[in-house]
């Protein structure tokens, strides 16, 4: 069967020690037996490795940060679209999802397809709304409260027992053992990611994760559970292994079916010593470890693109248990000319 040629724009090319999902998503697409993708990288920084990885990224354009506003970003996408005829756009950062979701209709009118969660799905799974989410869908979640200042925490301190987890609205989480540490982490995260900060009950156990894809009608297209076998000091998985865990899969199916989740997602769960599962986060996109799912037999990036193109997708029913990934770092040698081109012209 002849592969379908598609121009796919995607972000998250920061394949660094805290990697974005752009490169793993690209690897999945390049492995596809159905799609022949041209990958158009959307980069925020001249030193993101992705633009220089020419065996994966065919062309890169710098884009303005979402914080610069919707219009500058859309203007830039319009320009890129004129040159590249983008078929599908996959935003891979939490921080840019809101902007792209808001612009979904405009993008569609331009002829660019996306496959993103709805605004309601995006909002209700927010860290600050997690207790309500848990109650609504019957999922165990740790108790948490959003705070806007450290004095806000003083008022609700009695509701928590130390340690607590101090979390940013998009990224970062630290375990704090007393009020002073809460203050330190509050300031550290707020300076980087803004407010609110979420204070979450600390649940002791093993962190396990699921990468999944929902079709927007309540069906789970694919889901693969994993345990991180090596965690960096930034809390990122540097190694992982796929698990046989019907309970985690059942929970994933339940959440996708009840929320009618549309798009990729990562469930972050804690399994306690009593074998209970607590959901600590839903990330509304495919995670950086998604290539493990591809290698285990579920090419979720490919399926996401097919769904965006409104092509038929058969749900995956199997994956290989015990498939491992081990991340590594690599010093890529780059030409100054290329750096110059990306820095000055914003294209490479």
């Amino acid at each position: 069967m002849e592969k379908i040629k598609l121009n796919i724009a995607l972000s998250g090319l920061n394949n660094i020690d805290s990697p974005g999902p752009g490169i793993p998503v690209t690897r999945g697409l390049k492995d596809s037996l159905l799609i022949d993708p041209k990958i158009i990288g959307l980069a925020y920084d001249n030193l993101e490795p992705g633009p220089y990885m020419h065996e994966l990224i065919d062309k890169t354009y710098k884009v303005p940060y979402p914080s610069d506003g919707v219009e500058p970003l859309l203007d830039r996408i319009r320009y890129i679209h004129e040159k590249e005829h983008i078929d599908v756009l996959i935003p891979n950062f939490d921080s840019e999802l809101f902007t792209f979701m808001k612009s979904e209709r405009t993008l569609k009118e331009m002829g660019i397809r996306t496959f993103l969660p709805t605004l309601q799905q995006f909002e209700e799974r927010h860290k600050s709304n997690l207790p309500q989410f848990g109650e609504k869908y019957g999922v165990k979640v740790p108790y948490s409260e959003p705070i806007g200042s450290i004095m806000d925490f003083r008022k609700i301190e009695d509701k928590f027992e130390y340690p607590v987890v101090v979390k940013g609205k998009f990224y970062d989480a630290y375990i704090a053992y007393d009020f002073e540490q809460v203050g330190i982490y509050f300031n550290k995260i707020a300076a980087k990611w803004g407010l609110p900060i979420v204070i979450q009950e600390f649940v002791k156990g093993t962190e396990v994760n699921v990468v999944a894809l929902g079709d927007g009608n309540g069906n789970t297209i694919g889901a693969v559970p994993m345990r991180k076998t090596y965690i960096t000091d930034k809390g990122k998985g540097w190694g992982g292994i796929t698990l046989e865990d019907p309970v985690m899969l059942e929970l994933t199916h339940k959440i996708i079916s009840q929320t009618k989740w549309r798009g990729g997602m990562e469930l972050e769960l804690i399994r306690t010593s009593d074998n209970e599962l607590y959901m600590i986060e839903i990330n509304p996109r495919l995670p950086a470890w998604v290539y493990l799912a591809v290698a285990a037999g579920q090419n979720l990036p490919e399926a996401l693109v097919m769904l965006a193109m409104e092509m038929p997708v058969k749900p995956f029913s199997h994956y290989e248990v015990g498939k491992m990934f081990i991340r590594y770092s690599y010093d890529m040698i780059c030409d100054l000319k290329e750096f110059e081109q990306l820095s000055t012209k914003g294209e490479l």
Partner: protein, 85 residues
Amino acid sequence: MLKIKKNIAISDSGFVFDPGTGDSYSLNPTGLEIVQMIKSGKSFEEIFQDFATKYEVEEEAFEKYYYDFTTTLKQLRLTEPNGED
């Protein structure tokens, strides 16, 4: 009777993989022999008889090491929760 969980994979080299947790362990040849016997449904007495014919071992010493070993298997949750010996 002590039972190894059905989903636990044990290779001939003594590599043990628990697909539920992703944990893996290495057994020495003696440990592997015992685990394979437990897996085939043999009781403590039967396993001791097998060992006594093959190796020079006192029952008292074997019993101590056997229960130390099976306690570790239980702690690692490699055995069925209601499996007793």
